[in-house]
């Protein structure tokens, strides 16, 4: 079988049955009154991993992070860090440090004072503190801002001070709550790579909470997609994108065309799905077990759909005819919305690999969409 389109470094302790998890959530439940924020959740994170908790607001991802930091205690279940049960250990005794969404920089202290705060708390000798602070300032490139107060810094500089402050203590685990949320787009992209470099350089375990899927995909080794206090899927960014395990994940991550139908025939290696609503038949690789008559879903990403004026050779499967309804030009790519006879809109994206095109597609053109049998994902959940 072909492998997924991943180009990552070879770091995959989660595939190694011998590897010991560094952080484990074991059947953790957290209730606030009647509201269940985290629901019987189990999760393992490995040493030196860059792990992202991804989900919409209110899905329980921040609560999970706060439980790891010690600001909340689980209602039931337990959290282990390096084999140690964290229950009852207050935040100030945990070997983890958190970067707050608001940065929570102490406004009455200078940049230096902020970075040195945790070190002073540990009773580190003065000259060592000075050396460490200088090292941290260099790491985040803020040497000339040491004497400034937080309100005299820009958003990006504040973010870096917050980062330096929680890295200074050399924690075992760094928790980041929406670390890039307050930055503008350009700065966010730069900072993503800085964070990744930093994590590699320091060899720390990072747990990042984010609602921004691009951010999670770019930075993380693995992503946990969360919904209503539960983990829907834990996988590498490529797996989450190319092989989502459920309609929720397929829909949540990226753009997708989702079809609902029933299995008509199962031939070895292939499955045919009838989609009566749009009068099309889909043939796809049998990546999941299913039987004839079973209702299933089929998800296909816009960039995996071909668009042409010419009628494809075989129009009986994986093909549909429709009118070009909307064109969204993004520069690097264009997303076409094709309206089928049923009224259904199919999104197809194409890369603008060349600068000039003869006879480009335009509004109201009649076009064919088609795709290969390995282009989409069969979903039974």
């Amino acid at each position: 079988m072909k492998s997924l389109g991943s180009f990552r470094r070879k770091f995959a302790p989660w595939n190694d049955p011998e590897a010991k998890p560094y952080i484990s959530f074991e059947n953790v439940t957290k209730k606030f009154g009647d509201f269940t924020a985290v629901d019987d959740l189990s999760l393992t994170i490995y040493n030196r991993e860059f792990f992202a908790l991804l989900g919409a607001s209110g899905c329980g991802k921040s609560t999970l992070l706060r439980m790891l930091a010690g600001f909340e205690e689980p209602t039931s279940g337990r959290i282990l860090l390096d084999g140690q049960d964290l229950r009852g250990i207050p935040p100030y005794k945990r070997p983890v440090n958190m970067m707050f969404q608001s940065y929570a920089l102490f406004p009455h202290m200078t940049v230096e004072g902020n970075i040195a705060f945790g070190l002073r708390q540990d009773g580190m000798p003065k000259n060592e503190i000075e050396a460490r602070v200088a090292e941290m300032l260099k790491l985040v490139k803020l040497e000339q801002f040491a004497k400034r107060k937080p309100h005299q810094l820009s958003g990006g500089q504040r973010q870096r001070v917050a980062l330096a402050r929680c890295v200074a203590k050399r924690p075992k685990v760094l928790l980041l709550d929406e670390p890039l949320g307050a930055l503008d787009k350009k700065l966010r992209e730069e900072t993503q790579f800085e964070l990744m470099d930093l994590q590699m350089k320091l060899g720390l375990t990072f747990v990042v909470v984010t609602h921004d899927q691009e951010e999670a995909m770019t930075m993380a080794d693995r992503i946990a997609v969360m919904d209503k206090g539960k983990v829907k899927q834990v996988a590498t960014p490529a797996e989450v994108y190319e092989a989502p395990n459920s309609k929720f994940v397929a829909d949540f991550i990226g753009n997708v065309n989702m079809f609902e139908g029933t299995v008509s025939t199962v031939v070895p290696g292939k499955v045919d799905i009838n989609v009566p609503a749009d009068k099309i038949t889909i043939r796809t690789d049998a990546t999941r077990d299913c039987s004839a008559g079973q209702p299933v879903g089929f998800a296909i990403r816009p960039e995996k759909i071909r668009l042409s004026r010419k009628e494809p050779a075989d129009t009986s499967i994986n093909a549909a005819h429709g009118e070009l309804y909307d064109i969204a030009y993004f520069g690097d790519m264009t997303v076409f919305h094709v309206r089928l006879e049923s009224g259904r809109i199919i999104k197809a994206a194409s890369l603008n690999a060349v600068r000039t095109v003869d006879n480009p597609l335009g509004y109201d053109d009649m076009v064919w969409v088609n795709f290969d049998t390995d282009a989409g994902i069969l979903l039974t959940a």
């Binding site: 935040p91 100030y92 983890v96 440090n97 608001s102 929570a104 406004p107 005299q152």
Partner: protein
């Protein structure tokens, strides 16, 4: 035309506080200051010279020439007044400190209370203002007197055998001031604490601070503006306080407000009591202005 009206209106609106200060502070102050430079006589009004606007310019000059600093010289030479000023400042200082000890935890508790009960707590702090200040101070007589509620309770609880003698001592004055001025201290501290971002405290704990250390290193320094404002609101009126030392204090209680009242009503010495008031104002205003200057400078340098 419309523009002109608008600018006149806006100037009027801006001038309201200045007019207020002029009419209700500056002019009365000038009158008091003028009286403080006069001499006491048996007349109505009981001082001389009086300025007779019908006497013309020469009359005015004549009146001015009779002004003297005698009253101020007298204040400085009589140890009674010096002592009264010092004692007032000490009593006000101690009671401000005690009010802070009582008020800060209250403000802190209110700011950390669930948002739903906060407005109720705020109401409870303001509620005593709905009863007359005088009645509330009188009520303390009933509580503190030898056969009062406090002594009855302590004897019943077997803490003491003989009643404590609290009423008509400086202790009673301190209790009265702390009680009366508590809201003035609680409210400004509450408002700074309530505005504070709680994640700062969490960040401090995350970086290794036990909660108490986090309080002293983060919460308290950040609430200082409220603490300073609250302390001034207690200290300034407490220095000149008259009702509380008069009702709860005894012969040992020497406060400038009481002295002023004695000079004014019992001795009918308006010029001297005016001088007492002017000196009191100067004593209070000078340090406040200096303090505000340094605050403004500190803020300026931060920018």
């Amino acid at each position: 035309m419309q523009k002109l009206i608008a600018s006149v209106v806006s100037r009027l609106v801006i001038s309201v506080p200045y007019l207020w200060m002029l009419i209700f502070f500056l002019i009365p102050f000038i009158i008091v200051f003028k009286i403080s430079l006069s001499q006491v006589t048996m007349a109505i009004p009981p001082y001389t010279p009086t300025i007779d606007i019908w006497a013309g310019w020469q009359g005015f000059i004549n009146s001015i020439s009779q002004f003297s600093w005698d009253n101020y010289v007298f204040l400085g030479s009589d140890p009674l007044y010096v002592k009264a000023y010092i004692s007032s400042v000490i009593i006000a200082g101690i009671s401000t400190f005690l009010t802070l000890l009582v008020g800060y935890p209250i403000a802190y508790g209110m700011a950390r209370a669930p948002a739903t009960v906060r407005s109720t707590l705020l109401m409870l702090v303001i509620l005593p203002f709905w009863t007359s200040f005088l009645i509330r101070v009188y009520a303390w007589i009933g509580i503190l007197k030898p056969e009062g509620l406090l002594n009855q309770f302590l004897i019943w609880a077997n803490v003491i055998d003989t009643p404590l003698n609290i009423l008509n001592t400086n202790t009673a004055v301190l209790i009265g001031i702390v009680y009366s001025y508590l809201p003035f201290l609680v409210l400004p501290i509450y408002s700074t604490l309530e505005k504070m971002d709680y994640s700062l405290v969490e960040a401090a704990e995350d970086l290794g601070c036990p909660p108490i250390t986090a309080f002293w290193k983060i919460t308290f320094p950040l609430s200082l503006p409220g603490v300073v404002a609250g302390c001034f609101l207690v200290f300034i009126p407490a220095v000149g306080e008259f009702v509380i030392p008069d009702l709860l204090g005894g012969s040992e209680t020497l406060m400038i407000g009481k002295t002023l009242w004695n000079e004014f009503s019992a001795n009918r010495d308006w010029p001297l009591s005016s001088a007492v008031a002017v000196v009191l104002l100067a004593l209070l205003v000078v340090p406040i202005v200096l303090f505000q200057r340094s605050e403004a400078k500190a803020q300026e340098s931060e920018k």
